[in-house]
């Protein structure tokens, strides 16, 4: 295999890995947005919390796998508590109130993380079994990225299966189209909202842990990543995990390859894609619902 092709293969893998991280984050964001009409501005904070909690778990228990499982669950628990304690009492106030509340929370979490873990830059170390490199067809790839891509595909498949093939998934799909009708059919829509918000927290936390070894942990990672997740939602469109998945892969690849080919203008590439999508198909490339 010639050299430029092997660099390309490597960057495609990196792009896919980044796309998977964005997918995990944006899936929760779009799920919450699509069902509850709340743009969760604390979603980046959940991502950041996932990464930092995993850092502590990995330090104390010395086990990355436990961190990968425990941290997302803890973030899910935190988001569950926030939904019940803060968002639920403001349902009758309209969605703007709730979005503003999540924004206030983003400030608090940003500060709490700085307080507890300090402002230094950290990184998560993956265990030996998924670090180092892997040889496929005479080409070496970093194992951890391959792991992230596989993890992303597995989670994407599980979410797709959950949404398309299970009863709960049907309720969620119905919730995107017509909440009141779902409530009218005797389904406890508030319980659905709580569970969706918690699931979104779990996914964001998982994204944070998985991103730890690649992107690192630093104050400000919350909003930086939230912006990319928002772009994924705009490009992919609302309504299904498939749409988010498509958007995430496109943005992940475009950002990574853009950084290689035109390092100065990589961010513009992302925004150019977003602008074109908005002009040509405002509901997103794979979305069903108009923006």
């Amino acid at each position: 295999m010639n050299e430029s092709l092997s660099i390309l293969a490597m960057q495609v893998l990196n792009g896919l890995a980044y796309g998977m991280l964005l997918f995990l984050l944006a899936a929760g964001l779009s799920l919450i947005f699509g069902n509850m009409d709340i743009l969760n501005l604390a979603h980046g904070s959940f991502y950041m919390l996932g990464a930092y909690i995993a850092l502590s778990v990995a330090q104390y228990l010395d086990n990355f796998w436990l961190a990968l499982i425990l941290a997302p669950l803890l973030v899910g628990l935190i988001s569950l508590v926030l939904e019940l304690g803060l968002l639920r009492i403001s349902y009758n106030r309209g969605h703007l109130t709730q979005v503003l509340l999540t924004f206030g929370l983003a400030y608090v979490f940003n500060d709490l993380v700085r307080w507890i873990w300090g402002a230094a830059i950290h990184t998560l170390t993956p265990p030996a079994s998924i670090s180092g490199s892997l040889e496929i067809m005479g080409q070496t790839f970093p194992r951890y990225r391959v792991f992230v891509v596989l993890l992303g595909f597995v989670i994407a498949f599980l979410l797709w299966f959950f949404q398309e093939k299970t009863r709960w998934g049907a309720i969620i799909r119905a919730g995107v189209s017509d909440k009141e009708m779902v409530g009218g059919l005797g389904i406890n829509i508030h319980l659905v909202f709580t569970l969706i918000f918690a699931l979104g927290g779990v996914l964001a936390g998982l994204s944070g842990v998985a991103a730890g070894p690649i992107l690192g942990l630093y104050p400000g990672m919350d909003f930086e990543t939230l912006i990319f997740a928002l772009i994924v939602v705009v490009v992919g469109g609302l309504g299904s995990f498939t749409a988010t998945f498509g958007g995430a892969i496109i943005i992940g690849l475009a950002d990574t390859l853009g950084k290689v080919w035109f390092p100065e203008a990589s961010l513009f590439l992302i925004f150019a894609i977003m602008a074109v999508v908005l002009l040509v198909k405002p509901q997103g490339l794979f979305g069903g619902r108009a923006a």
């Binding site: 947005f33 009409d37 743009l39 501005l41 803060l86 009492i89 403001s90 106030r93 309209g94 969605h95 703007l96 109130t97 979005v99 503003l100 509340l101 924004f103 206030g104 929370l105 983003a106 400030y107 608090v108 940003n110 500060d111 709490l112 700085r114 307080w115 909003f223 930086e224 912006i227 928002l230 772009i231 939602v233 705009v234 100065e264 961010l267 513009f268 925004f271 977003m274 602008a275 908005l278 002009l279 405002p282 923006a291």
Partner: protein, 325 residues
Amino acid sequence: MNRKNLLAMSVLFLISLVLPWVIAVYPLGIVIEILIYGIFASSLNLLLGYSGLVSFGHAAFFGIGAYTASIFAQNVSANIFFTLPAAVIVSLLAALIIGFFCTRVSGFYFLMLTLAFAQMIYAIAHQWESLTGGSNGLSGIPVPQLWSGFSFEDQKLLYYLILIVFLLVIFGIRRFIASPVGQTLIGIRENEGRLKAIGYNIRNYKLLAFVIAGGLGGVAGALYSYFNGFVSPHEVYWTVSGHAIIMVIIGGAGTLIGPTLGAGFLIILQSVVSSYTDRWYSIVGLTFIAFVLFAPKGIMGLISLLKLPGKKEVTQNFNVEGEKA
């Protein structure tokens, strides 16, 4: 305006005139900051309060105004009749381009896009080092001048300049909101569907509001660069947009002076709190959450509660456009 209001306004105006001569340099600096952020929050209020457009990227225009004024002052002339119009024109153009995209969508999509575009401006401020100085920012910005030989070296003079601009902006917004265009914007906030049905071109009105708000945001940014003498990418960061939103909501969205009160509240709180603790962000966040939950109409809403019952005071509601009532 009735007699009592006129009297109160005159007293306030007199106080603001003699202020630099009775207070020290540090509190005067805080007053200047309140006026600058008062302009900035008021410009955002045109969108968030009056038009129901929740913009999360207003820092873009603050930054563009600050950088434009500084770059022109360094390379061409520090005359404010030059730097201020330059800042306004560039901000207006940027607002036209960003607004063109953002007004194509509604509801929270608008919020996302404004946030994303502002972050792009932040990235430009960070990466285009030859123009913006990168993460170091621009320092050593020449002191603004009225003409050569008359510069705003003295902070008292700068205070008067900023006070004049502040008053012009506030009265300008008052006139604008009372105009048919301003009333149409309020109509769009209250019931977008109905205005569309009557035949108004909603998008053009929203774009107009966006461009005006962007231009005024640029004014605030330019004044900030005069006051600070230094600009950095921090001026374009999301926290600046966030602070502006917090100021508008805490002061009272959709009211004329609410945003300035919110700016005053936040800046004074910051200067008090930061001498005790580093946990400033938590305190802002929690204060904001408390206002959203318990006093959604902000300080202006609280003031109107104090007024005599029976006298109906108008504090307008804000609502996300495109949302079912």
